[in-house]
Subunit: 306 residues, 2 copies
Amino acid sequence: MSRSAIFLAGALLLADTVAGQTPAPKAPTMAEVLAASKPTDWRPLDPENTLYLELASGRVVIELAPSFAPRHAANVKALVREGYFDGLAIVRTQDNYVVQWGDPDAADAAKQRKIAHAQRTLPAEFTVPIPPGLPFTRLPDVDGYAPEVGFSGGFPAARDPRTGRAWLAHCYGMVGVGRDNEADSGGGPELYAVIGHAPRHLDRNVTLLGRVISGIERLSTLPRGTAAMGFYEKADERVPIRAIRVAADVPLKERAFLEVIRTDTPTFAALVESRRNRRDEWFKFAVGHVELCNVPIPVRPLGGGQ
Amino acid sequence: MSRSAIFLAGALLLADTVAGQTPAPKAPTMAEVLAASKPTDWRPLDPENTLYLELASGRVVIELAPSFAPRHAANVKALVREGYFDGLAIVRTQDNYVVQWGDPDAADAAKQRKIAHAQRTLPAEFTVPIPPGLPFTRLPDVDGYAPEVGFSGGFPAARDPRTGRAWLAHCYGMVGVGRDNEADSGGGPELYAVIGHAPRHLDRNVTLLGRVISGIERLSTLPRGTAAMGFYEKADERVPIRAIRVAADVPLKERAFLEVIRTDTPTFAALVESRRNRRDEWFKFAVGHVELCNVPIPVRPLGGGQ
């Protein structure tokens, strides 16, 4: 909103102090939290749970969340490993909603891409039993879509202690499994990424299995489709997928070495607080609230290097 | 999320009925609400409160909200009418946040675009007294950012009965006034539009003055700037503004004839309910909640024609 640096690390909010008294410790800005983070506040990506979606414009890196969609994550990897997506296309880009990719001929049994070993459909994984042993960093902030929201394993998530179920939340950049009207009609051959305001009403209605952690702009800037729901009207409007690969299958020198902030640490708790009440000088009104999908989950080159 | 039509008007959720009993009236889908709307459920744009942002890619139509930012709305019109923006540029596009436009040389007193009659800065209008006589359609749904949220005059808004103040909410497509660190350092020469998840923490921290009601995709698909905060690094990356015009100053044959749904009618209340609990067959889980920025405010050609 500003020509100057709104979020500069150095911007300080002057604390009210009384002469002769020690001022209360100033709460840090997000930039200050990140600058003070330790190497152990970050975790490297697991190459077995990382996908590279390769487009002409470059690479989109997706981290899978097998704790929340074990069968779908495994099936998408199986699809990837048999080359299912290579040469298919992005078929839909709807403004303020989703980018969707898969087989443009999926509805035509004669022309559709064959699947050798993976599954075309799977039972839905809209929710799962609360994953045992996986920390859940709960936000105290009210949420209208779920009894409890927070972060688990690096993903925005929700849970219901009453039912013992947990699920991922449709925040910006989340990746899910396209399906038809039947709950069990998805499986992984068609995937989507959120590129707009969080469509949280999709939570528990569709299986989410990961998050774009790098390259989302290669999806969010795509031309919007002009057919219903943002589908591309003509075949030549579709965006070809060169390949999707599991990072573990990619030669080391071609891999993206990234790390993601851990969401179960005091550093992450400080980051959340820095977004709940902005300490940057630009802000005049302390909000006292942060919505789940307004908390960033920072990603950086491995080791923090540039 | 589906290859088939998730949101088709004709998709029906089969009601549970008991033989011999009259089934309860089925709640309509949004498509059904819109199809059944009356001409009086819509309002034409006021050409005096409509701006056309003209880019090489086409037109972006912005509706001003003078009830919520009277001085800023008037000043932006004054800037437009003296040709202030013509030949300036979009200077910043930050993914999942904002597109911002104005004078790339604003910080250089020698080179900056001169202002003849309008104001360069104005006292902030972060909040205003609750506009008398302007209906406020309150959402019953919980909101973490404001005591009360809803729709007023066609815009997503919030209010605090305790303070008697109201303000617009930073939903997707909302247009606001860039400023520096001082609250009163904005005025209209630099504007922004939201192109990502609603940054509601900006509410009450910056003056909002309108909403993009057509052509948002001409902004949301722009290449993301690679300098800090999404500013374009090089001058030739900026997107030139051919002109901004007040619709009333544009010859009739060049105007966009659009109408916006009224937000103070039973039809709009039905639309909100259709988004709170989706009746479309695709949905398996009735959410029972809708967030302010997930309620669409439909726009269509005047009279509903295509």
